[in-house]
């Protein structure tokens, strides 16, 4: 059975964690984000053998922690690495196998190509967030509530439809939005 660490996980603590992660991603800056993204990706690949599917959560966490071992602010780095690790686990939901195969064939740096492809998908999600309510789309509470209630409306996507974001679990939705908003801003 999965045992969740944070026992009192209401909307308030959730939003507080989103705020922490958002601040951590922003604080990294463009170069820091790219470096940490690469480090978590490499560590996850090396440790977790993720070819057959998403890595076990424990392994993803260990890999992300190892990428932050030398960081000056360990807590902030862990929060940003958490976002990256969750995004890695959700890749197969946003990018189909045919697109992955195209990226493998058409680029020398698969990870960079995948990151660019994912950013397009995150932009679509951020657009959905921006038009879903009048609240500030960069506010952690808005992101938390949007992701908690997004699946109440159906999101039926045709296979291979890159312009359609399927239903997403709360952690994956939050991680995608935090990464996009922290990197680019809420307005795509």
């Amino acid at each position: 059975m999965i045992v969740i660490a944070i026992l009192l996980l209401g909307a308030g603590p959730r939003a507080a964690y989103v705020a922490r992660a958002l601040a951590a991603v922003r604080a990294l800056g463009p170069d820091g984000r790219a470096a940490l993204d690469r480090a978590v990706y490499d560590a996850t690949r090396a440790r977790c053998r993720t070819d057959a599917g998403p890595a076990p959560a424990r392994c993803s966490i260990d890999a992300a922690k190892s990428a932050c071992e030398t960081a000056p602010d360990q807590t902030s780095c862990d929060a940003a690495a958490d976002v990256i690790a969750t995004n890695l686990r959700g890749v197969s939901e946003l990018v189909d196998d045919a697109t992955k195969a195209r990226l493998v064939r058409g680029s020398t740096d698969y990870h960079a190509a995948l990151a660019a492809e994912l950013l397009h998908r995150y932009a679509l999600l951020a657009t959905e967030l921006a038009i879903s309510s009048r609240a500030d789309p960069e506010a952690p509470e808005t992101i938390d509530q949007f992701c908690a209630h997004r699946d109440e409306r159906p999101h039926t996507c045709e296979p291979g439809d890159a312009a359609c974001i399927p239903s997403l679990a709360w952690p994956r939705c939050v991680a995608a939005l935090v990464w996009y908003v922290g990197s680019v801003g809420a307005a795509p």
Binding site: A11, P54, A57, S60, I61, P171
Partner: protein
């Protein structure tokens, strides 16, 4: 005292002019944009309408009723001694103005053009009565660009070529596969309707010869014999043919699935339903929330039925009109059904619909035989009786695994199934029990595997919240992982849509394969 006619003329004229002005049809720009035809039609229709109205209005005769101000406000007076009326000309003008405004609102350039074209449209040959010329042969499809053939191991060479490290792609040069053109042979339908230039006499001869089996080719005696046989066969099955027509016109049910639920009716039936009738099934289940919240036990069961069978977000639905839910059912409904199905169905007002469907099926089989006898194309066999009629019972308060038996109604074997849930909990993971029980009742036990051992995460850490919660994606409550739904802090973020979608998809695959419609 003011005459009622004058009052009515002022109200009618003033109201119509105000409405026309509000809708903008009195604006000079709009009036100048009207075509000559539209202006003529507006004038014609308004004059006719005003003429008809004023014929009964008789503005030169004083009103027999009048309004006046009394102590308690406006008072209606019958046969007043003296009435003040507007002059007849003014009344006529007001009525004419009202009719003109109403016609202006109804008739514009588009409507006028449609009216003018109406005679030509009516005279044009209908595709249902004439053989229309076939559309010109489809244009040759533009040749699609040839697909590029991917070659294994060429990605690096292509990349090097793009970056200028090599001047030639060599064997990795793009190759194009020739597109395979497949011509699909379209069957040409022979048109037997009247040709556009065919005289009536020739068309009549063709119809007569067709009716009597090709008068020109067959001996008249044989043709008449064939026709007599045909008519006699129809007469032999006349009762079924007429009943079929009656059921088509009357809209008799295509299937009858009755479900008895031993819970109170979740709908109060307000007095207005005496006039409006009960809300339609499709209205009741039109917009169901994804997950039930704050519902009582009956509402929860109804919500589950709606999601399982009729929610469009999960794909192909069952037919809403085929299901009848009997609330407040006795706990022993299925036992009584098994003991004496006809008596119990009669008592529950369900026998008529069941018999109507079974009779319709028997007629379909009979008429299938008729078409075979006449040498015509035989329609597909109707579904078995069990697929179009079913009797099910949902019992609350007693745990019973889904089980069933067969009963005979008018010689047809019909399935009776029952399931029981000991305790219906509306909070936490309670709805999962109702989902599983109802699905097993309606479609049988699922063969979906139970969840394997779920992932364990270190409970003592206070970081990596997103990654720790991510395994919820695979923790399917329908396969056993119900604990997240029992936690108030998690229930809002459990990815229930994903698990519900998979569960209902699996259910509908089984359910729809077992059901049919006439």
């Amino acid at each position: 005292m003011i005459g009622l006619k004058s009052l009515a003329a002022v109200l009618l004229g003033g109201g119509a002019i105000a409405l026309a002005a509000w809708r903008g049809v009195l604006a000079p720009a709009y009036l100048t944009s009207l075509s000559t035809t539209a202006c003529f039609l507006v004038g014609l229709v308004a004059s006719l309408a005003a003429g008809l109205a004023l014929g009964g209005w008789r503005p030169h005769v004083a009103s027999r009723g009048a309004m006046t101000f009394g102590r308690s406000g406006l008072v209606l007076v019958d046969d007043p001694p003296r009435v003040r009326e507007l002059p007849a000309v003014v009344q006529r003008a007001l009525v004419l103005a009202a009719m003109t405004c109403v016609t202006l609102l109804a008739l514009g350039n588009h409507a006028a053009a449609r009216i003018v074209e109406l005679p030509a449209d009516l005279a044009a040959p209908e595709p249902s009565g004439y053989c229309m010329p076939r559309a010109a042969a489809a244009k040759e499809q533009a040749r699609a660009p040839a697909p590029v053939v991917d070659q294994a191991g060429c990605a690096l060479v292509k990349r090097a070529y793009q970056l200028g490290y090599t001047k030639s792609l060599g064997s990795c040069a793009p190759k194009e596969a020739a597109p395979v053109v497949t011509a699909v042979a379209q069957p040409q339908e022979v048109c037997t309707r009247r040709q556009l230039d065919e005289p009536w006499l020739h068309y009549g001869y063709r119809k007569a010869s067709g009716a009597f089996g090709a008068l020109g080719d067959v001996a008249p005696g044989d043709a008449i014999d064939h026709r007599v046989t045909d008519v006699r066969a129809h007469l032999d099955h006349l009762e079924s043919l007429l009943a079929n027509v009656a059921s088509s016109i009357g809209g008799s049910p295509h299937a009858a699935h009755h479900l008895w639920i031993a819970l109170p009716d979740p709908h109060g039936h307000p007095w207005t339903e005496r006039f409006t009738g009960e809300p339609r099934c499709s209205t009741v289940f039109a917009s169901l929330p994804l997950w039930p919240r704050d519902l009582d036990r009956s509402q929860l069961v109804e919500h589950v039925i709606g999601q399982l069978l009729f929610a469009t977000r999960f794909g192909t639905t069952a037919s809403c009109n085929d299901l009848v839910i009997h609330w407040d059912a006795p706990a022993d409904a299925c036992a009584r059904l098994e003991h004496d199905p006809v008596a119990f169905l009669g008592e529950q007002h369900a026998l008529a619909s069941v018999r109507a469907v079974l009779a319709r099926r028997r007629r379909a089989i009979e008429l299938r035989g008729l078409t075979a006898e006449l040498g015509r194309r035989v329609p597909p066999e109707p579904p078995p009786a069990q697929a179009i009629v079913s009797l099910s019972c949902f019992v609350a308060g007693e745990a019973k695994a889904a089980h069933g038996s067969m009963v005979s109604i008018d010689g047809d074997a019909i399935g009776v199934r029952e399931v029981g849930v000991k305790d219906i909990r509306t909070a936490g993971a309670g709805p999962i029990d109702v989902y599983v029980a109802m699905a097993s009742l309606l479609a049988g036990i699922s063969a979906r595997p139970a969840l394997a051992q779920a992932e364990d995460v270190d409970p003592n850490a206070d970081d990596f919240l997103l990654t720790r919660l991510d395994p919820l994606v695979d923790a399917d409550p329908f396969a056993g992982a119900r604990w997240p739904l029992e936690r108030d802090e998690l229930i809002e973020i459990v990815p229930i849509e994903r698990h519900l979608h998979a569960f209902i998809d699996d259910f509908r695959r089984r359910y729809l394969a077992q059901r049919g419609r006439l």
